[in-house]
Symmetry: C2
Subunit: 177 residues, 2 copies
DNA sequence: CCTAAAACGGAACGATAATTCCAAAATGGG
DNA sequence: CCCATTTTGGAATTATCGTTCCGTTTTAGG
């Protein structure tokens, strides 16, 4: 999974995967069926792990602003680390395979919807707790944070953008009333 | 250029390029030197064209909010068109080639800096004209709009996201005071 | 018109790619 | 321990890949 994440689908060879997984080439085919099937399974594992991680993180937050700030701070800090320079697997797949490979489109859309739903519920909690005002479009805000998250994972691939990205996040938080 | 833009670097074969450009394979090598060199030239042409287009567009805008709204509306509408589903060449290259291919990093960074500078000057004009309040971090706002633009170009690869993306943009505009 | 240069069509070259094959080795359960 | 199953190491298969080659055709300038 990490190899696909880092190099993308096309630039990852089966030998790369054999090396990374430490199993024999024939076993790899026996177990997974082929490059594409393996890719899809890796993608689905990543997507599920990611969405659950986000959900769990936000469940533990008491303040919407603080929670979102921390979420983005972690994401941004991660982009500056060795492993985090891979960016977001979903984002990488989106830009690499769409629009030509329609087979991934449904999964990518499902991921988007799951993420914005998590953001949306989190913002609703902010309204219920009185932190946020009820007179704003929470759906739009959820879409803003999801889209911004995608942007962060792209721009964060450029080394040295921590401060600029964190500024962008602070500006976006300013949109919450 | 369009082929690299759509398929990415690794998935584009020289035969794809021969077909797209309609010249002989040997001439292609004679003229450009090789796949990588051709890619870099295509990228630089795109980057320059794009940055100049953005500059020219914003120069004609009298209102910051209206100008940014239109800019993003156009970008979002474009993602729903056939040609626009390619997304943004720079974004695609960033996610495909970083972090492994460091040779593109300088160009990608330069592009980021050019774009945020254009946004920043535009916001400054808004302050000078009285539309925007001077007591906000214009650099952070410029970074927000640049990062959001990147996010739009990713999420916009999923068909049917026009409304959601436009909502995200409206939410982000709400951050301007 | 002539001729040098450029472009062409087609193929060769060596490497890489995904997938399959097979005898041998390793594993795990009875 | 035995044996069936799984995994292995190594290679083969077929196709594609980026690059180069070369005789022929086309082009453009004098």
């Amino acid at each position: 999974m990490h190899t696909f994440w880092r190099k993308g689908y096309h630039a990852t060879s089966m030998q790369d995967l054999v090396d990374a997984m430490g199993i024999n080439r024939a076993s790899l085919y026996d177990t997974f069926g082929g490059k594409k099937a393996l890719f899809e399974q890796a993608f689905e594992l990543y997507r599920k792990t990611n969405a659950q991680g986000l959900q769990r993180f936000l469940e533990q937050q008491e303040s919407v602003r603080v929670g979102l700030r921390q979420l983005f701070a972690m994401a941004i800090e991660e982009t500056q680390s060795e492993a985090g320079q891979r960016g977001c697997f979903v984002v990488n797949v989106t830009t690499e395979l769409l629009p030509d490979d329609r087979s991934m489109e449904g999964l990518i859309r499902a991921n988007k919807e799951a993420f914005t739903a998590v953001f949306h519920r989190f913002l609703e909690q902010g309204v219920a707790s009185g932190e946020l005002s009820a007179d704003q479009d929470l759906q739009a805000a959820a879409n803003l944070f999801f889209t911004l998250y995608n942007g962060v994972k792209v721009v964060g691939k450029i080394p040295g953008q921590e401060k600029a990205l964190m500024g962008a996040v602070e500006a976006a938080l300013g949109a919450l009333r």
